[in-house]
Amino acid sequence: MSAPLLAVDDLVIEFDTQAGRRRVVDGVSFGVAEGEVLGILGESGSGKTMSTLAVLGLVAGNPGVMGGSIKVFDDGQPRELLEGLGRVIKRRGDKPARKNDRRWQRLVFRRMKPLWGRVMTAVFQNPRHSLDPLMTVGAQVEESVRLAEPALSKAEVGARAVDWLARVQMTDPSRVHGSYAHELSGGMCQRAMIAVALARRPRLLIADEPTTGLDTTVRAEIVALFKELLADRGRSMLYISHDIREVLYLADRVIVMRHGRIVEEATAADLKAGVGRRDPYTASLLAAAELPVGQQGAA
C-alpha cells in the first residue's frame, strides 16, 4: 500500500441546537492514501460534509469538533491537527461541555496554514458562492498559480491561468479569464473553482458535493471532468456526494455514512460487482440505483 495522506480517527463533532446537544459526527475513522480516490457517500445530515470540513480545519465554533484525531501527512511527516484540543474544551464532570472557539480556531488555523493549498485544498458545493464576487475568475486562478509556482513571471502566470481554464474545458478560456462569477453559469463557476483548486497543485483534492445544485447534464460534465483530471495525473482525492453513481464512477474505495456513523466500507469494484455482504442502507442505495445488491446483513 502506498503512503498515507490523511488519517482521521474517531472524529466527534457536536452542535448545539434548540433541542439540545446533537452529535452530527459520531466516532468516524477513515484514511486516504497517496494516489487513491476515497468516496464518501451519504444523505444530507449524515455528517459527511462536516467530517470533511473538519479535515480542512474549517468547522466553525458552537462546540464543533469535540474529539478524535486528524492526521495530515506532509511528505510522510504526520501533522496532528487536533493535538492539544483538550486544553480549549471545558469539561463538566467527565463530559466535554463547551470549547473556547476563538482559541481553538487560532490553534487549528496556525497548524493548517502551511498545509492549506499545498497539501490539500477543496472544491465546495454551491459554486456561485465559492468565488470572490469582486475579482475576475482569472485573477483568482492566477492567485493560485502564484502560490504554487512563485518563480513565474507575471506574463507566465497569466498564460498558466488561461491554460488551467482551458484544461477544465472552458469553451472560451481567455474570455472567462476576464469574467466575474455573476457573469458565469453555475457549471462554469464550478469549472472555474476546480481550476482555482487544481492550479494550486494540492496533494489531496477534497471535493465536497461539487455537483449539488447543478443541472443533470452539467453534473455529468463535471463528474466526467473530475474523471479525466484524475486519469491525467494520478491525483489523490476525497470525493463527497449523495449520489452513489458519481461515487462509484470516480472512487477506488467508498465509505457510506448515515446518522454520523460509518455503516459500510468497501472497494468500489466490490460494490459495483455486488460482492460481499452489504449493510441494509447501502443495499437500499444500490437497489435504488438499480445496481446488483449482493448479500444483505452485517458484513
Binding site: L56, L58, A60, G61, D101, R102, M112, K113, L115, W116, G117, R118, M120, T121, A122, F124, N126, H129, S130, L131, D132, P133, L134, M135, E143, S144, L147, Y180, H182, E183, M193, V196, A197, R200, P202, I206
Partner: protein
C-alpha cells in the same frame, strides 16, 4: 459593450437620477413654504419687514404666482446658487456669502466625524472579533450609553469639562485651560474636536455603525468564498478588505443624514460658527432666505454623497453595473 462604457453609462444615469431627486426635493421644500397658513409672505418674513422688502421676497419665492410657475421661477434662481439676500442675520449679504463658508465648516466637521466613526467602528469590529455571548455584557451597556441623544452627551461632557477646569484652577492654573471648548467661541480647532467626539458618541451613531460593521465582517468571514480562499492557502485579508469597501461606503452614505442632523445640535451647544448654528439662528430670527438656502444645501449634500457612494459601489462591485440600476 466594454465594462468601462457600461460603467460610464451607469454613472451618467445615476447622475441624472440625482439631479431629478434634487429637483424633487427642492419642490418638496418649496411646497412646504407655500403651505404656510394664511398669507405665506407673512409666515416667512420677520416682524416689521418693510413692504418693499416683502415685495422683493414675494418675487424671489414666486409667491405672486401659482405654485408651479412660482416654483420654476424660484428653482431657476436657486439652481445657479441665488437664494436671495439675508434679511436679519446679515442684511444685504447674499445667502451664499453667509451660508457657504459656514456650510463648508459644517461639512468638514460632519464628514470627518463620520469618517472617524467609520474608522473606529472598523477597528472596534476587528478588535472584538467574532461576536461572543459574553461580549453582550459589554456591548449592552455600551449601547445604552451611546443611545443617549447628542445633547445629553454634550452636557455630560461639558460638566466633566467644568469639573476638570475647577480642579485645574484650584491647582493654580489660569482661569480656563487653553483647550477648554465650552462655551467660549474661539478660532482654535479644539472645540471642533470636542464637537466631533460628541457627534461620534451621541445618538447611538458609533454603536450602530460598530454593530453593522461587525455583522458585515462576520458574514464575510463565514462566507464560502473566504473558506475557499483559505483552503487554497492564500491570504484572506485582501479578499475581506475588498469586499468590505461596498458596505463601508454604503454605511457612510446612509448615516450622513443622521450626522447632518446631529451637527446642528452639536454646533448649537458648542456655539460653533457653522451652518447648523446659522440655520437655528436664522430660524429664530425668521431670516427665511437663509433657512431655505441652507435646507437646500443640506439636501443637495446628501444627494451628492449618495451619488458618489453609488459610483464607488459601481467601480468596486461589477454586479452593480450588471444590475443596471
Amino acid at each position: 459593450m466594454t465594462r468601462a462604457s457600461l460603467l460610464l453609462i451607469a454613472a451618467l444615469r445615476r447622475t441624472a437620477g440625482g439631479l431629478l431627486l434634487l429637483v424633487g426635493a427642492s419642490f418638496v421644500i418649496y411646497i412646504t413654504i407655500r403651505s404656510a397658513p394664511g398669507d405665506a409672505i407673512d409666515a416667512i418674513s420677520p416682524m416689521g419687514t418693510p413692504p418693499e422688502v416683502k415685495a422683493k421676497l414675494m418675487a424671489e419665492f414666486g409667491l405672486d404666482r401659482d405654485p408651479l410657475t412660482g416654483y420654476v421661477a424660484w428653482l431657476s434662481r436657486s439652481a445657479v446658487g441665488d437664494f436671495g439676500e439675508s434679511l436679519v442675520f446679515a442684511p444685504g449679504a447674499t445667502v451664499m456669502d453667509v451660508g457657504l463658508p459656514a456650510f463648508e465648516r459644517t461639512l468638514a466637521l460632519a464628514g470627518l466625524a463620520l469618517a472617524a466613526c467609520l474608522v473606529l467602528a472598523l477597528l472596534g469590529a476587528l478588535l472584538l472579533g467574532r461576536p461572543h455571548p459574553r461580549q453582550q455584557l459589554v456591548t449592552g451597556p455600551l449601547y445604552f450609553v451611546t443611545a443617549a441623544p447628542s445633547f445629553v452627551v454634550a452636557v455630560l461632557f461639558a460638566q466633566g469639562m467644568n469639573w476638570f477646569v475647577h480642579t485645574y484652577v484650584e491647582q493654580g492654573g489660569y482661569e480656563t485651560p487653553p483647550w477648554y471648548p465650552i462655551p467660549i467661541y474661539s478660532e482654535s480647532w479644539m472645540p471642533y474636536l470636542f464637537a466631533g467626539i460628541v457627534l461620534v458618541a451621541g445618538d447611538g451613531l458609533f454603536t450602530d455603525f460598530l454593530n453593522a460593521v461587525r455583522a458585515e465582517l462576520q458574514g464575510l468571514r463565514n462566507a464560502q468564498f473566504i473558506a475557499a480562499v483559505r483552503a487554497k492557502g492564500a491570504r484572506t485579508v485582501s479578499h475581506i478588505a475588498r469586499n468590505m469597501v461596498v458596505p463601508l461606503v454604503s454605511g457612510y452614505a446612509a448615516r450622513l443624514p443622521i450626522v447632518l442632523g446631529g451637527v446642528v445640535i452639536v454646533e448649537y451647544i458648542f456655539t460653533l460658527d457653522g451652518a447648523g448654528y446659522l440655520l437655528l439662528e436664522a430660524a429664530r430670527e425668521r431670516d427665511f432666505p437663509i433657512v431655505v438656502g441652507l435646507s437646500v444645501l443640506f439636501t443637495a449634500t446628501i444627494i451628492v454623497v449618495n451619488l458618489l457612494a453609488d459610483i464607488v459601489r459601481a467601480l468596486v462591485d461589477p454586479r452593480e453595473v450588471a444590475r443596471g440600476g
